[in-house]
Subunit: 215 residues, 2 copies
């Protein structure tokens, strides 16, 4: 496909494209062959012109009055979002969430291949049942040579998050995906994504409390 | 504490407050007794005046030249964010991520108490080793009477997400925390939070690719 991979997409577009993909995948499993941006718009409450604009990044054309071919749209979206290519990752902190991410085959369907875990707990490091090897964090430089990865997923406690990120980056990792509540800082040029579970909890609790007083 | 719980906090403030909490908890474990907003500012790269403004929601006063008492600040932040009160939740979809959230004692330290899971797989429903009972989704109305909860955590596949949310809301749930890639819609008055794992993956892949071409 003739796509400019050098393109830095705006974050809101990157947030919406996976919604479209999830929706058209549902249509496909229901046997639907074509979908219009109006139809996506109604299902997801996103402006139809916004959808057309987002999809224009993909070099894919819909047919007048029929819309996009579902199969082609799924392929184009998956490919464009990088979900069809393998991106290797390490998980730092093989606690409950870390182990779940290692085991969660769902992520590998989206192009994330977890190739190793790192921990400091000897019992965790000794485990052979997680599908990938778990190493002591001190071994990262060796592991990077034999079993390299470009993404570090942080599921460590807050107090270890910055140190883990620094170690991972100095070993050659190019992106940090932070699930810890600590605000990790990285040098320019290192990719940083925060999945702020605790902020979302705080948001839910705050809005629930506010609604309680309103009703 | 004399806090107006009826206050709807801005989302950016709700995103930053957990950062401050994580940071001052680290200070506490290091034996530090006082912290200034300048110090928090330097550690987290957040403007000091922004920090003072965020903390002004808490009815907590720092001392001139000394700053905030670490212990008091932790208590005030945890209490204000709702992390010290129990909020009951159901997990819908006891797959890998669902099971991890059920088992993850970390969340209970932040005020989220998962009291039951729902699934459609008979093998999963029969499991007794997850710490909470797993029910068939059809039983939700009965479970809501004997073991009620106000939050539904969705870790189901995209095609089941909307239906699960609708069922949970009709059974009396007041908030939806969506981990599925589908964009779930809810009526006004229902709290909605999306943890967009797939959007974050797309962001990481896009930025990695762009950096590769830049270097």
């Amino acid at each position: 496909m003739n796509i400019d991979n050098n393109l830095i997409l705006p974050e809101p577009t990157l947030r919406r494209l996976p919604w479209y993909l999830a929706y058209v995948e549902i249509l496909k499993s229901a046997g639907t062959e074509y979908v219009s941006s109006t139809q996506i718009s109604r299902a997801l409450s996103v402006d139809a012109s916004q959808i057309a604009k987002d999809l224009s990044f993909l070099n894919i054309k819909g047919k007048t009055r029929i819309g996009y071919e579902v199969e082609t749209l799924i392929e184009a979206l998956s490919d464009f979002l990088g979900f069809t290519r393998s991106h290797k990752a390490y998980v730092f902190g093989a606690g409950s969430l870390g182990k779940a991410l290692i085991r969660d085959s769902g992520l590998s369907n989206y192009g994330l291949e977890i190739v190793a875990g790192f921990d400091v707990n000897p019992d965790t490091i000794a485990r052979k049942d997680l599908g990938v090897p778990i190493y002591h964090i001190d071994q990262i430089y060796d592991v990077m040579e034999t079993n390299p990865a470009s993404i570090a997923i942080l599921t460590v406690p807050a107090q270890s998050a910055q140190e883990c990120a620094d170690t991972a980056i100095s070993a050659g990792v190019k992106a940090i995906w932070n699930f810890s509540p600590y605000r990790v800082k990285v040098a320019e040029g290192v990719v940083m994504a925060n999945t702020s579970i605790y902020a979302h909890l705080a948001l839910i609790f705050n809005r629930l409390e506010a609604n309680k007083h309103r009703n």
